[in-house]
């Protein structure tokens, strides 16, 4: 273990560390997404009070919210960078690709989901930018201000969202991207757990299935909202 030929790799970050980062930040974002979805389910109500109160509550957290947002952005950045590094590394590790390649099936977990992580991830990243600009900063259209039950002034986000999703571009764009999120999570959830070393042969198939269920629930939960609004 002392051979001088075994020099440290140049980046100083091993592949395992990249996967640990990717897995950890991915899990955090999955948890965030589930929380976000839980809040969004209030959009199903015909009355916007609850949704707006929830939105206002988050904003009223002030510094705490900003701190959480900073961490989320940081994690997202780490997640994206590690993902891009994996993708770049793969091209370096196999410069000449197979003329014919196919999965051997059986125990392989290779799928459209696992092979398209870089694509779904890139789309999701772009989407997040647009999403935050639209609904957090209301860049494209200012939001109305309403007075809540406790007298506080807040943005009428309920109305804002409903109006936005009456626009077919927004509604179907969101639906499509949320389907991609499902695809991303289909591989991402269980892969993150595997990356964090949480897999044992006994649990592996179960967790793989649970990963699929989580992915489906999150995707259906998110994409049903714009569809519901658009068609109602």
């Amino acid at each position: 273990m002392s051979n001088p030929a075994n020099a440290k790799s140049k980046s100083g970050v091993t592949g395992i560390v990249r996967k640990l980062i990717s897995g950890f930040t991915g899990i955090i974002w999955t948890i965030f997404a589930i929380g976000h979805l839980a809040g969004n389910l209030q959009l199903y109500k015909t009355d916007g009070t609850a949704f707006n109160q929830y939105g206002h509550f988050l904003e009223s957290l002030g510094g705490l919210l900003i701190l959480a947002e900073i961490f989320l952005v940081l994690f997202l950045g780490m997640h994206a960078i590690s993902g891009i590094q994996v993708w770049l590394g793969k091209r370096k590790a196999r410069p000449e690709s197979y003329k014919l390649y196919q999965s051997a099936g059986s125990k392989s977990k290779q799928s459209l989901a696992s092979r398209s992580m870089i694509v779904t991830g890139s789309v999701l990243l772009l989407f997040l930018v647009v999403h935050v600009l639209s609904f957090k900063f209301n860049i494209f259209k200012p939001a109305d201000v309403i007075t809540l039950a406790n007298g506080a002034q807040a943005r009428d986000l309920y109305k804002y969202v409903w109006e936005a999703f009456k626009n077919p571009v927004y509604a179907f764009g969101y639906t499509f991207v949320m389907a991609l999120l499902g695809l991303h999570l289909r591989h991402g959830v269980w892969s993150a757990l595997q990356s964090l070393g949480m897999m044992k042969p006994k649990f592996s198939p179960v967790i793989y299935s649970i990963g699929g269920i989580i992915a489906a629930l999150v995707a259906v939960g998110f994409l049903s909202i714009p569809l519901y609004i658009y068609f109602s």
């Binding site: 273990m1 002392s2 051979n3």
Partner: protein, 648 residues
Amino acid sequence: MSINFKTVENSSRLDAKAPSGPLESKWKNHKKDVKLVSPANKRKHTIIVVGTGLAGASAAATLAELGYNVKALTIHDSPRRAHSIAAQGGINAAKNYQNDGDTIHRLFYDTIKGGDYRAREANVHRLAEESVNIIDQAVAQGVPFGREYGGVLSNRSFGGAQVSRTFYAKGQTGQQLLLGAYSAMMRMVDAGKIELLTRREMLDLVTVDGVARGVVARNLETGEIEKYAGSAVLLCTGGYGNVYYLSTNAKNSNVTAAWRAHKKGAFFGNPCYVQIHPTCIPQSGDYQSKLTLMSESLRNDGRVWVPKKEGDTRKPVQIPEDERDYFLERKYPSFGNLVPRDVASRNAKYACDEGRGVGATGKAVYLDFADSIKRLGQKTIEDRYGNLFEMYERITGDNPYETPMRIYPAVHYTMGGLWVDYNLMTTVPGCFALGEANFSDHGANRLGASALMQGLADGYFVIPYTLGDYIANNSLKPVSTDHDAFKASVVEQEERINKLLNINGNKTTLEFHRELGAVVWDNIGMSRTKEGLEEAIVKIRAIKEEFWTNLKLTGEKNTFNKYLEFAGRVADFIELAELMAMDAWHRNESCGGHFREEYQTPDGEALRNDDEFAYAAAWEFAGEGKEYTMHKENLVFENVKLSQRSYK
């Protein structure tokens, strides 16, 4: 027919150097008496280890740990590919963990008896002594042997022994032991004490003033002929079973390194002792490239039979019970299907020779599990042999639960090899031979689970002492690879390769190899006759003649060229085959793996002739076209009583 050679009785060239004193203390005393090399001096010596199987890897690792500089050559892309990896069954050790009365003496005795009293007592006893240390060493390296629920090591019994002394790692014991030795070796590569030279094929032993001082090898990737000098050369290059073309050996297993050393003065011991394993998957066609071994344990529950009628082509299930001949049970009522390897093999051959063989080629007998499945249930059979049945089905496409297996004997191990003294040194000073490459420990027949034991004993525990003694006793001056002996050797090898490539005839290497294999199998196989051997020599000489005038090779020499490698090896196999025939021809007795039809008991058992043949035959090469000289090392048995085997 002219088969001429000189004979030297009690040859002075064969000083076995077995220590004096009682058998039990020979090795202990020898270890006490050998000279040591100081650490500062070990650093000054380079040891060339050729081959990285069990013997080579364990020797390389151990010598490097001691401080020698080791250069390890292997023909493979990695040391881990060596054919030791394929050994299935297990490794014997006289640990007596089962409290069933095993002792070092019993393991010694079983091995000597199993070898049909044709091995050197002192060597075999040393092997039995060191067997226990091998298990300790392997476990310490992390070899995952089979264990009991309580955490202790598990043992199984194996043929030729009345005790359970075989340690195993499922059906992959050889793999696990080799990976253990390989890891020890790679640790020393990392420490800079071993220079690992992969894809190098030794083509010549280089001697300076009659002493082995290096090798010349071909770099199999670039084709370059390279020179390696050192203080000693260790040949750990395995056996020569591939002389038969079809064998259970790996395709790259060969005799070339040993044979080239033989031509440089190392005597070849007992080349006719070959072990044939009874339960292998038979040949299915001309394209067949190798035979696959099935564990012998199958004979515990399988019944061997052939149809009574010649040329019966019915499906096995359609042949009624009274038209089947369970020949082993018929001839050997008390041992039945569990007779020793050689007896089972020979009788299968006889049945096929009578035209009662089965399968497309007629060269197979049935091994039937129907009765056992009826008696024990399919579940039990599956538990016992599931993986073997699976392997059989993968290769043949037949399901052995439904139709009997077809089996046939195949060459499996060669007991003969380079003659070595007690220190494992060949007749060329400074050139040692370890493991299957030497002739030393198994006599005329090897017991199951003993090959791994010998390879590792030689490498881990014997050579470190005996090599040290050689180095300490000889003031070896450094030799440079610029020495004329190296230069001459390189020229010679380059000429030989050019010659092979320039014959430009019509027959491929494989065609020659197949042809040779058929002759050797038919005449120097399971049962041999004087006439058959004489005929073999004529045919082998003709093959040699044709090989050097009608070989067709394509491709170039300065690059990876597997068929060029094969051609060089086949050329050596052809020469070896003639020596095997000569050895078998001269040995007018039957013993172990050498069965001469003229010498059998009325019951058809091997009939030894201890008065005339209780010696090891060591053959000296005198030069191309010159008569061989056969040197006799008389075997003295002071501790065992020679007896006849009987399995009736």
